[in-house]
C-alpha cells in the first residue's frame, strides 16, 4: 500500500478533522461515496499506525498523546461507533484498533485509562452505540471486540446493565443509578437477547460472548442486578435463550445458566431459581432432548435442583411424581460418557438423592 503514503502524511490535527468531516458526510449520504471512503481509509490507517506502530516501527509517545487528545476533543469515537458499518472492510478493523488503543491509552506514569474514564463519565453513548453494532453484520465483530476489551472495567458492564431509554437520548449518569429499582426491560442490555437469538451465526455468537462477559466478569455487580431483576431476567432467559430454535444459542445458554447458578456470588439467585417448579420443568425437558450435548448441559443445571437440600414443595412434587421414571431414565442417561468421572459420580449421586426422596413432599426446614 505504498501508494497511500506517497503524499506527505497529514498532521494529527489534519487527519482528525478530515476524518470527522468525512464521517459526518458519510452518515448523511445514502449513496456510497468512493472518494470519501478512500480518503477515510487512508486517514484511519494513518491513525492506526500512529497509535500502535507497525511491525518495523515503534510508536512516538508524543504523537500518540497528541492524537488521543484530538480524538477525544473532536468526539471522533462517537462518530466512529455510529458509522463503523459504513466503513470499507479493512477500515472497520482499523477503527477497531483505534478504539482499543484509545481505550487502553494511559499516559506514561499513570494507571488511569483516561480516554475510557472520559467515555464513562461524559460520553457513555459511545458504549451504547458500540452495543448497537450488533444490529448489523458489518459492525458486529469490530464493536464486539472493542466492547469485550472495555468490559474489563465494571463501569462498562454497569453502563450496559443499567441503561434505560430516555426521551432526550441521553445516557444515565452512573452516579444516579439506584440498583434496587428494577429495570424497565427496555435498556440496551435486554436487546442482547434478540441479538443472540435472531442474528446470523457470527453476530449471534459474538453477541453471546459479550453477553457472557457482561454477566460473569463482575460478580458482585451482576449478583445485585440479577436479584433485583430476577423475574424479568429469567423469564427472558428461559423463553428466548433456553428454548431458542437455534442449537448453538440453546446449548450455550444452558451452559451459561449453569455457570451463573453455580457461582458463589450468585448464591441467592441460585436458591431462588431452584425453588421454581417451572424452571425445573424446563430443565427436565432438556434431559429428554434428542441432542446429546443439550442433555449434557441440561444435566448440569438439573443436578442443582436435586442436590439442593432445601427443595421447595413444587420441586419436591415434580421429582417425587417422576421418581420411578427418573430412576429408570438416569442409569442409562448418556451412559457412553464412560471417561467422564465427574459426570458418572454426579449421576450416581443424583440417583441416590432421588431414591431417598420422601414419599410425599415435606416443607423445607429453612425456607431460603
Amino acid at each position: 500500500m505504498a501508494f497511500l503514503f506517497r503524499n506527505r502524511p497529514k498532521s494529527n490535527a489534519e487527519v482528525t478533522r478530515s476524518t470527522k468531516d468525512l464521517l459526518l458526510k458519510l452518515s448523511e449520504e445514502q449513496r456510497p461515496n468512493p472518494k470519501a471512503e478512500e480518503e477515510l481509509t487512508r486517514n484511519l490507517q494513518q491513525m492506526k499506525i500512529t497509535l500502535q506502530g507497525t511491525l518495523e516501527a515503534e510508536i512516538n509517545q508524543q504523537l500518540v498523546f497528541e492524537l488521543v487528545n484530538l480524538i477525544v476533543n473532536e468526539d471522533l469515537l462517537y462518530l466512529l461507533a455510529n458509522n463503523i458499518h459504513r466503513l470499507p472492510f479493512e477500515s472497520r478493523k482499523d477503527a477497531q484498533i483505534i478504539f482499543s488503543s484509545a481505550f487502553r491509552y494511559k499516559q506514561p506514569g499513570y494507571a488511569d485509562p483516561e480516554v475510557l474514564r472520559h467515555v464513562i463519565q461524559n460520553r457513555p453513548e459511545i458504549i451504547i452505540s458500540l452495543c448497537h453494532g450488533y444490529d448489523r453484520r458489518e459492525s458486529a465483530l469490530p464493536c464486539g471486540g472493542v466492547l469485550r476489551e472495555a468490559l474489563k472495567f465494571d463501569a462498562i458492564a454497569a453502563l450496559i446493565l443499567y441503561d434505560e431509554p430516555s426521551p432526550d437520548g441521553k445516557c444515565r449518569d452512573l452516579g444516579t443509578v439506584n440498583p434496587d429499582l428494577p429495570s424497565s426491560g427496555e435498556g440496551v442490555f435486554w436487546q442482547y437477547f434478540d441479538w443472540i437469538d435472531k442474528s446470523a451465526f457470527e453476530v449471534s455468537a459474538d453477541a453471546f460472548n459479550t453477553f457472557r462477559d457482561i454477566l460473569t466478569k463482575h460478580k458482585q455487580l451482576v449478583a445485585t442486578y440479577l436479584q433485583t431483576n430476577f423475574e424479568t431476567f429469567f423469564t427472558k432467559y428461559n423463553y428466548v435463550l433456553i428454548q431458542s430454535e437455534s442449537y448453538v444459542t440453546k446449548r450455550q445458554s444452558i451452559k451459561l445458566l449453569g455457570e451463573i447458578l453455580l457461582d458463589r456470588a450468585n448464591y441467592t439467585v441460585m436458591t431462588t431459581y431452584v425453588e421454581s417448579g417451572e424452571n425445573l420443568k424446563i430443565i427436565m425437558k432438556l434431559l429428554r432432548d434428542d441432542r446429546r450435548m443439550i442433555n449434557y448441559e441440561g444435566f448440569h443445571v438439573f443436578k442443582v435442583f436435586v442436590a439442593n437440600p432445601n427443595k421447595s414443595l413444587a420441586v419436591q412434587k415434580i421429582l417425587i411424581s417422576n421418581r420411578e421414571k427418573l430412576l429408570r431414565f438416569l442409569p442409562d442417561f448418556l451412559s457412553d460418557r464412560t471417561e467422564d468421572d465427574q459426570f458418572i459420580d454426579e449421576k450416581s449421586f443424583l440417583i441416590r438423592q432421588i431414591e431417598q426422596l420422601p414419599s410425599t413432599p415435606i416443607p423445607p426446614s429453612t425456607p431460603a
Binding site: 500502535q52 506502530g53 507497525t54 511491525l55 518495523e56 472492510f89 479493512e90 478493523k93 484498533i97 482499543s100 488503543s101 465483530l141 471486540g145 476489551e149 446470523a200 451465526f201 457470527e202 455468537a205 459474538d206 460472548n209 437455534s246 442449537y247 448453538v248 446449548r251 450455550q252 441432542r291 446429546r292 450435548m293
Partner: protein
C-alpha cells in the same frame, strides 16, 4: 441460508465432519462447505467461533476466502472459497517441486503472511498441507485452526501450538513468541517443498521438539539448488527471532524478486491431476480433505497436531524402502520360485500353508515388520481413524497386501480391518474390534470398481454378526480362484511391476493399484475373480487387444490348444502396454495367464449356476460383480488402463516360471494344481457355502438397511 446452496459431491472428510463442493444458487459460484457436527464437538464451540471470527476479518487474495457460516440443525456450515488445485502437500505426491515453483509459493505465502502479520494475526501452522492452490495456480493460506489474533500487533503469545516439524524454536521453548514464528515455519515449508518432507521427518515428533531448539537451524543443501534459494532459507531459519527477517523484508529478497508468475503453478496442479488420473479413480477427487483434516486439530488433540505430519512423510519413506527389497525377491531368485511351483500341491493353494518356500517366508517377515510400522503411526497420530486414513492410505505404496490375507497363513479371516490398523488382521481373532454398524457395509463385496472405494474402508466388521466359524466366501470356488490368482500371479506381478517402475510417481501409482487390489482380494476374492474373468473376456472380445496381449481366442476353444497358439504371439505384446515393464518376455509367460482365464471359461456354467441361489434374493446387495453389464469398462476407463498395465506386468512377473521348466512339463504340472481340478470335489461344498453365505448376507442386510 442453507437453501442458498446446492451441495454437490463430498470433497473429503475428517474428524470434524465433511467438506462438500457446492454451488451458490444466487451467484452460481462454486464454493466449499465444511459441515461441522456441533454435537460431536464437546466444548469447542468457542474455538470454532474464534476461528470463524478470525477468518471473517481476512480479505486477501493470498488467504483462502471465508464467505459465510450458519447453523442448520446441529451442523455448522462454513462456506469458503473453493480451491480446486489441492494443497501443496497433495501436489508434492508426484514428487518435490522445482526451485522456480518453490520461489512462487514462497512469494505468495509471504504476501499472505504480510497481510496477516500487519493485521495482528499469527497463523502458527504454516506448512505445505495448509497451503492451498486454485485451479488457476493462485496460492492461498488456509487453516486458521490454531491462528491467533493479537489485540496489539506487538504483543506476544505463549501457547504451544503448531505442528512439531515446522515449529520455531521459540514456540517450543514457550518463552513468548510473535509473528516471526511464521517466518521460521515458512523456511521449513520451503525445505519441505524442496525435499518432499520437512527436516527431521524420520524422527518422532516428540523428539523433534527437543532437537529443534538444540540443533543448529536446518539449511538447504545440495548442488541442484541455487545460492539465492539457500540464502533465502537461511534468512527464514535464524534461531533468534529478533534477527529473523520479517515478511516485508523477505519480499525484497532476490530469490523472491525473481520468482515467476503465479500461473506457472498450474503446472504443479496439472502434474498432480495427471498423477491422480493414472492409478485408479477409486479415490475420487478429494482436494480439500487434507486441509480439512488439519482444520480442526484441536478437536482431537488440543494443541498437538501430530497426525497430519507423521504418517504422510515418515511412514511413506519407510515403506517404500523396505518394500522394494522384498519386491525383488521373486525376480532374482528364479530357482526358488520354480521349485516352489514344482512343490505346489493342494496345501499350497490359497487356503493351505507353504512352509518350505522362500517366498512366503520373506513375505511373512516383511508383513510383521510392516505391521509394526503401522502401529507406530497409529500411536503417534491419536485416534481419528477417518482423518488419518484419508491422509494416510494413498501414501503407502504396496503396503497392504502382505499384512492382510496374502501371507500364506492358513485361515483367512474375512475381517474388514481399517487400513490404518493392520495388525489385528494378523491375529486370528482381533479382540479390540467392536461391532460398528456402518452404511459402508455395502462395499463388502465391491461393486464395479468405479463405484467402490476399496481404500475407503470403514471400521466395520461385517463378519462379526453371524457365525465366525466359517468364513464363507473363501470356500466358494470363484473365491478360491480369485485368491489363487492373486497369490500365485497378481501379487508377484505387482511387486515386479512396482520394482520395475521407473519414476517415483509411476511407482506410487503402481503401489496404489496394488494396494487396492490387495484389498479387493482381502475382502472379496470371489468378486476379484469375476472381475478378472470379465476383464479377460472383454479383452478377448477386442481382437486387437487380444492379439496384443496374446490372448486372442476363438469363440469356443479347448484351453490347452489355444494356449500354445497364443504364446506365439505374445512376444510382441508386452511393449505396447509396457508402462510398468519394458522387458521382453518369453512366450510361455503368457501361457499361465491364459490358462487361468481359459479354465475360467470352462467353469463358467457352474459359476452361473451357483451364483443364482444367493444372488437372486440379494439383488440389492453387493453381488453386482456377478452381473455382466456392470463390469463393462469403457475404453477410456482408467481401470482398463490399469488393467492393461497389470496385464503387461502380469507377463513380466511370470516369466521366471518358465525359466526352469520346459513348456510341456511345466504346463502339465501346473494344470493339476489349477483350481479347475480342485473344484470338482468341492462343487457341493461350494453350493452349501453359498447358501450359508447368502443367509449371512441377509442377516447383514437386515442389520443395515443401506446394504
Amino acid at each position: 441460508m442453507a437453501e442458498n446452496y446446492q451441495v454437490l459431491e463430498e470433497l473429503g472428510s475428517g474428524s470434524f465432519g465433511k467438506v462438500y463442493k457446492a454451488i451458490d444458487k444466487t451467484t452460481g459460484a462454486i464454493v466449499a462447505i465444511k459441515h461441522i457436527d456441533l454435537e460431536d464437538t464437546n466444548d469447542e464451540l468457542a474455538d470454532i467461533q474464534g476461528e470463524i471470527a478470525l477468518l471473517s476479518t481476512c480479505n486477501s487474495p493470498y488467504v483462502a476466502q471465508y464467505i459465510t457460516s450458519f447453523v442448520k440443525g446441529v451442523k455448522l456450515w462454513i462456506v469458503m472459497e473453493y480451491l480446486g488445485g489441492g494443497s501443496c502437500l497433495d501436489l508434492l505426491k508426484p514428487g518435490p517441486f522445482t526451485e522456480a515453483h518453490i520461489a512462487i509459493v514462497c512469494r505468495e505465502l509471504l504476501l499472505g503472511l504480510d497481510y496477516l502479520h500487519t493485521s495482528g494475526k499469527i497463523h502458527r501452522d504454516i506448512k505445505a498441507a495448509n497451503t492451498l492452490l486454485c485451479q488457476s495456480g493462485q496460492v492461498k493460506l488456509a487453516d486458521f485452526g490454531v491462528a491467533a489474533q493479537l489485540t496489539n500487533i506487538k504483543s506476544q503469545r505463549m501457547t504451544f501450538v503448531g505442528t512439531p516439524f515446522w515449529m520455531a524454536p521459540e514456540v517450543i521453548q514457550e518463552a513468548g513468541y510473535d509473528y516471526k514464528a511464521d517466518i521460521w515455519s515458512l523456511g521449513i515449508t520451503a525445505l519441505e517443498l524442496a525435499y518432499g518432507q520437512p527436516p527431521n521427518a524420520d524422527i518422532h515428533p516428540m523428539k523433534v521438539l527437543f532437537i529443534i531448539p538444540k540443533n543448529p537451524a536446518p539449511r538447504l543443501e545440495g548442488d541442484n539448488w541455487s545460492k539465492t534459494f539457500k540464502d533465502f532459507v537461511a534468512h527464514c531459519l535464524i534461531k533468534d527471532p529478533d534477527r529473523r527477517a520479517t515478511a516485508k523484508e523477505l519480499l525484497e529478497h532476490k530469490f523472491i524478486k525473481r520468482a515467476g508468475r503465479v500461473e506457472a503453478m498450474r503446472e504443479m496442479v496439472e502434474r498432480k491431476q495427471m498423477f491422480d488420473a493414472h492409478p485408479e479413480s477409486t479415490t475420487h477427487p478429494k482436494y480439500y480433505e487434507e486441509t480439512m483434516i488439519d482444520l480442526s486439530p484441536r478437536s482431537e488433540q488440543d494443541e498437538w497436531i501430530f497426525d497430519t505430519v507423521k504418517p504422510g512423510t515418515v511412514a511413506t519413506r519407510r515403506h517404500t524402502a523396505k518394500r522394494r527389497k522384498t519386491a525383488r525377491i521373486p525376480s532374482t531368485d528364479a530357482a526358488a520360485v520354480a521349485s516352489m511351483m514344482q512343490k505346489m500341491d493342494l496345501n499350497a493353494a490359497p487356503l493351505g500353508t507353504v512352509t518350505d518356500s522362500p517366498i512366503p517366508e520373506a513375505r511373512r517377515r516383511s508383513s510383521s515388520r510392516k505391521s509394526s510400522a503401522a502401529t507406530a503411526i497409529r500411536v503417534s497420530s491419536g485416534n481419528t481413524p477417518t482423518a488419518r486414513r484419508v491422509s494416510n492410505v494413498p501414501k503407502q505404496p504396496l503396503g497392504l497386501d502382505l499384512s492382510f490375507g496374502n501371507s500364506p497363513s492358513t485361515v483367512r479371516h474375512f475381517k474388514r480391518v481399517p487400513s490404518g490398523e493392520r495388525r489385528p488382521a494378523l491375529c486370528p481373532n482381533p479382540p479390540s474390534n467392536s461391532f460398528h454398524p456402518n452404511p459402508q457395509a455395502r462395499t463388502f463385496r465391491p461393486s464395479p470398481p468405479n463405484s467402490a472405494h476399496p481404500l475407503d474402508v470403514e471400521t466395520n466388521n461385517e463378519n462379526e454378526p453371524p457365525a465366525l466359524e466359517y468364513p464363507p466366501t473363501p470356500i466358494t470356488k470363484d473365491a478360491l480362484y480369485g485368491r489363487r490368482a492373486y497369490n500365485k500371479v497378481l501379487d508377484s506381478v505387482f511387486q515386479e511391476a512396482y520394482a520395475d517402475s521407473g519414476s517415483p510417481h509411476q511407482r506410487d501409482a503402481m503401489g496404489k493399484l496394488q494396494q487396492a487390489w490387495a484389498h479387493l482380494d482381502q475382502v472379496d476374492p470371489h468378486g476379484e475373480f469375476l472381475l478378472l474373468k470379465a476383464m479377460v473376456d472383454r479383452l478377448q472380445g477386442d481382437s486387437k487387444l487380444a492379439n496384443a496381449l496374446g490372448i486372442a481366442i476363438s469363440p469356443a476353444p479347448t484351453p490347452a490348444k489355444h494356449n500354445t497358439k497364443a504364446s506365439e504371439t505374445s512376444l510382441s505384446g508386452t511393449t505396447i502396454h509396457g508402462t510398468g515393464t519394458t522387458r521382453l518376455h518369453r512366450s510361455n509367460t503368457t501361457t499361465q495367464s491364459v490358462t487361468k482365464s481359459s479354465s475360467d471359461l470352462s467353469s463358467t456354467p457352474s459359476v452361473t449356476r451357483e451364483s443364482t441361489p444367493f444372488s437372486t434374493p440379494l439383488s440389492t446387495t453387493s453381488q453386482s460383480p456377478v452381473k455382466g453389464p456392470k463390469l463393462i469398462l469403457a475404453q477410456n476407463n482408467p481401470h482398463l488402463k490399469s488393467h492393461r498395465r497389470r496385464q503387461s506386468a502380469f507377463v513380466g512377473g511370470e516369466k521366471i516360471f518358465g525359466a526352469g521348466l520346459d513348456d510341456g512339463r511345466g504346463w502339465g504340472l501346473d494344470e493339476k494344481k489349477l483350481p479347475g481340478h480342485v473344484e470338482k470335489g468341492m462343487e457341493q461344498q461350494g453350493l452349501l457355502a453359498d447358501i450359508l453365505y447368502g443367509q449371512w448376507i441377509q442377516g447383514l442386510k437386515s442389520r443395515w438397511p443401506v446394504a
